[in-house]
């Protein structure tokens, strides 16, 4: 049939025609522009509006940056140099950057110490953040870092941080030994007692040798600038994660008294603004501490901010705990693990993995909230700009440059953290989509 038909056809092509390129309007950049920018009248209007907005923003921003001057003694000098060409007076940043970063009281010949602590942060944090890529022993760097950083930033004899570290380490070793023999609770008790004994003894030795390998002491109230934001952020986040875990476990626990306390604490702290808690740190907390104990304001603030973020982290972790299937809890029970073991070995590793994005959100929020300490007249970055710099006769009126610098500093840190968390989420995703 087909044979017969073939004869009646004059020409049958024997090879395939090579595929032709699509028409110009349907391919490449043109198609992309048509599909994404001008696919209809509404879309076209939006595109034009968008271009207008971008033009408007850039036409202000580009001359401001390019024409700006980085040299000048004060604002009048700046204005003379700029001659009204729309440039920014970045000289204020060039002149005042040490104050923006370190505050105005930190001795300038000691600035290398916080800088060093900041650089070491990049050695200490990766082992905790990239657990799956780095060998486990690098975690030692993370464990040692707080003590080194404290010594570098505050100064004083090295014996104090060493004894604190030794106490923690000895307590942990004792806890491990006793836990194997007698169980979690006696182990914990023995560990805490050991640590306290070592700190107690260490106190005497430190007092006896105050000059041993001592760096020059810097008072807490000399801390300021972006350094203060970093200190508060790092310390409070790292302290509030363990506290948040405890609160979350307490809230999930079957013991009514423990549960009740945790619920009240969490709901109370989440219901009030951070500012009121900072007021508490500033004026009220002193009432409830021993009359002769003069806690640094910075320590009182750390206590309150830690409590604040711990309540939020507790809620995030509670979500993680609730998201685990009941079978995981039953698996722990059926293996004969007690509460502490099943939590530590089965439940928490999974729950924490689920709650990583939430924890990072809280961490970013907390870091931004450290600016609120400027309200109780501590000179963090915002406090420095509002107070000493903008009220000085030299630089009164240079708003944009200073606030832009603050925005850039915070944006870099916060955006970096949030990008890291998104990356981590992709890394830890065990389901295959």
């Amino acid at each position: 049939m087909s044979d017969a038909h073939a004869h009646s056809v004059a020409f049958v092509r024997e090879s395939e025609i090579p595929p032709a390129p699509p028409p110009v309007a349907e391919a490449g950049a043109v198609r992309w522009v048509r599909a994404n920018l001008f696919s209809g009248p509404f879309n076209t209007i939006m595109t034009l509006l968008g271009i207008l907005v971008i033009y408007y923003l850039l036409s202000g921003l580009i001359p401001w940056i390019l024409n700006g001057t980085w040299e000048g003694a004060d604002i009048r000098d700046c204005r003379e140099q700029l001659q009204g060409n729309g440039g920014g007076c970045f000289a204020v940043i060039a002149e005042r950057w040490p104050q923006l970063l370190f505050g105005f009281q930190y001795p300038d010949y000691l600035r290398w110490r916080p800088t060093m602590a900041f650089v070491l942060l990049f050695l200490a944090v990766p082992p905790a953040l990239f657990v799956m890529f780095l060998p486990r022993w690098t975690l030692i760097a993370t464990a040692v870092y707080p003590f080194i950083a404290y010594w570098l930033i505050w100064g004083g004899t090295i014996l104090a941080p060493i004894f604190v570290a030794v106490g923690v380490a000895a307590g942990y070793l004792v806890f491990q030994k006793i836990e194997k023999l007698r169980g979690f609770v006696p182990g914990m008790g023995a560990g805490i007692v050991t640590a306290f004994v070592i700190w107690w003894i260490g106190g005497f030795i430190t007092a006896a040798m105050p000059g041993f390998l001592a760096l020059e002491t810097v008072e807490s109230r000399s801390m300021g600038g972006f350094m203060l934001n970093m200190i508060l952020g790092v310390v409070c986040v790292s302290l509030s994660i363990p506290m948040g875990i405890l609160l979350a476990l307490g809230r999930q626990s079957r013991l009514p008294i423990v549960k009740g306390f945790c619920v009240v604490f969490i709901e109370f702290v989440r219901g009030v603004p951070l500012i009121t808690l900072l007021f508490v740190a500033n004026v009220v907390l002193a009432y409830f501490l021993p009359p002769n104990a003069n806690f640094d304001l910075i320590i009182r603030v750390i206590i309150m901010i830690t409590m604040f973020s711990a309540a939020y982290i507790a809620e995030v972790i509670r979500g993680g705990l609730a998201a685990l299937p009941k079978g995981q809890y039953e698996a722990g029970d059926s293996l004969g693990l007690d509460y502490a073991q099943s939590m530590r070995l089965i439940i928490l590793p999974q729950a924490l993995k689920i709650s990583i994005p939430g924890i990072v959100n809280v961490a970013v929020g907390l870091f931004k909230d450290t600016t609120l300490v400027s309200v109780i007249s501590m000179f963090d970055l915002v406090g420095m700009i509002r107070g000493p710099i903008l009220s000085s006769t030299d630089w009164a009126g240079v708003y944009w440059e200073l606030w832009a610098a603050a925005c850039v500093l915070f944006f870099v840190v916060c955006y970096g953290i949030s990008q890291y968390s998104q990356w981590l989420e992709r890394q830890l995703r065990t389901d295959h989509r």
Binding site: G271, V272, I275, V375, W403, C407
Partner: protein
């Protein structure tokens, strides 16, 4: 084949069971926790009792009835510096509520627009919105508040430029539409003036708004129960406007708009939005709007594409797909985080103290505290206020959440 179990031994309670028996161990732990808690709190209480300042002052709220002696620049209800601290506190609380409600409304508007536009096909618009969201989410709200305050207080022209010069020539600037004027003292806007029975007109208007919702519910019920299509749009407009207009004329036009007018030195009449209010309102709106945008985006993305395609297969138009299929489902995902954003706004209004807006933190936590030195009482009261606000908001929003959540049968 008899299996005899041992008869249960009638053994008494032993001390060891408190630690080794899981039935009793929880009691032991709770007892220890309770003792530790009591010890901790009594330590705090003991310290407080030893405190000299507390010992001399005692703990009382009597200062609330003493004259406050300071001025408040934003007064929703009448107030003079001779009024009591309590009245100042109430004014602060009202100011907090005002700015919180305003910011919640505008933040929702910004957030929904930005969230929907970020999903737009238009590349430029979606990138612009991404920049907006990332920029505002990653910079502290305190900095935004101060920046906007700086703009409002320094960039706008001074009032003197609106003043009529002596020689009768035109002033440098005139009011926009004869109604609005942006000055460095704040933005002047028209004000509604109620005379006589004017409040009745406002009441009628509020009732009409309720009436519109009633009509919509009625139309929906007709459609679902009887399959009849009842027109909604035109009747709604009629319900909204007609009664108010009728009431307005019957009562003899008791409501009028008072525009700000340039007097000899300053504007007279109208309503003044101070730079601090503008800064707080606007900054909280755009900052929280960026967060709400992400919630809205996540909510819309959570609806599976199959829903949109199914609706399209039924022949629905894109606008209807959005309003009838996607949004009702997305709302279930959006509402819970929206509640916590509203709570955040309410709590963040306390940042007013940084720009001098007299909200609760400014009056009770600021000047009253400093003047009376009653730190403990003031801060306790302050926390209680905010707790009440937060609980009230979450209660109201949870009612709404229950009405939109998935009805499972």
């Amino acid at each position: 084949m008899t299996t005899m179990t041992d008869p249960p031994q009638a053994e008494g309670f032993r001390i060891g069971q408190l630690i080794h028996d899981t039935r009793y161990r929880s009691y032991t732990f709770q007892f220890i926790a309770l003792v530790l808690l009591i010890l901790g709190f009594s330590w705090l209480a003991y310290n407080a009792s030893q405190n000299e300042q507390l010992q001399s002052n005692g703990f009382s709220y009597e200062f609330l009835s003493a004259p406050a002696g300071y001025d408040i620049n934003q007064q929703p209800i009448p107030y003079t510096s001779q009024d009591t601290h309590l009245r100042a506190t109430v004014i602060g609380a009202i100011n907090t509520i005002i700015v919180a409600v305003l910011a919640c409304i505008t933040a929702t508007v910004f957030g929904v627009i930005a969230g929907v536009l970020r999903l737009s096909n238009n590349w430029i618009i979606s990138k612009l919105m991404a920049v907006y969201v990332e920029m505002f989410r990653n910079i502290p709200v305190l900095i935004w508040i101060i920046i906007i305050f700086t703009v409002a207080a320094n960039i706008f022209p001074p009032i003197s430029e609106f003043r009529l010069p002596r020689d009768g020539s035109d002033p440098d600037r005139t009011l926009l539409f004869g109604m609005f004027a942006a000055t460095n003292q704040g933005v002047f806007i028209p004000r509604l003036v109620f005379t006589g029975l004017g409040w009745l007109v406002a009441l009628v208007f509020l009732a009409s708004i309720a009436g519109v919702f009633g009509w919509r519910a009625h139309a929906r019920k007709k459609l679902f129960d009887e399959g009849k299509v009842v027109p909604v749009l035109l009747p709604s407009i009629a319900i909204l406007l007609l009664p108010t207009i009728v009431a307005y004329f019957i009562l003899g036009m008791p409501v009028s708009v008072e525009n700000p007018e340039m007097g000899r030195f300053r504007f007279e009449g109208g309503f003044l939005l101070r730079p601090s209010l503008i800064a707080l309102w606007f900054a909280l709106s755009i900052y929280t709007g960026a967060f709400i945008a992400e919630n809205v985006r996540a909510g819309i993305l959570a609806i599976s594409k199959g829903q949109t395609e199914a609706a399209a297969a039924l022949g629905m138009r894109p606008g209807r797909i959005m309003s009838l299929v996607v949004l009702p489902q997305a709302l279930r995902v959006i509402i819970p985080p929206l509640i916590s954003q509203y709570l955040n706004i309410t709590k963040n209004t306390s940042l007013a103290i940084a720009v001098g807006y007299m909200d609760l933190t400014g009056t009770l936590g600021g000047i009253t505290l400093n003047q009376t030195g009653r730190a403990l009482e003031c801060i306790l009261l302050l926390m209680l206020f905010y707790l009440t606000f937060s609980l009230a908001i979450s209660a109201i929003m949870n009612v709404y959440n229950n009405s939109v959540k998935l009805k499972e049968r």
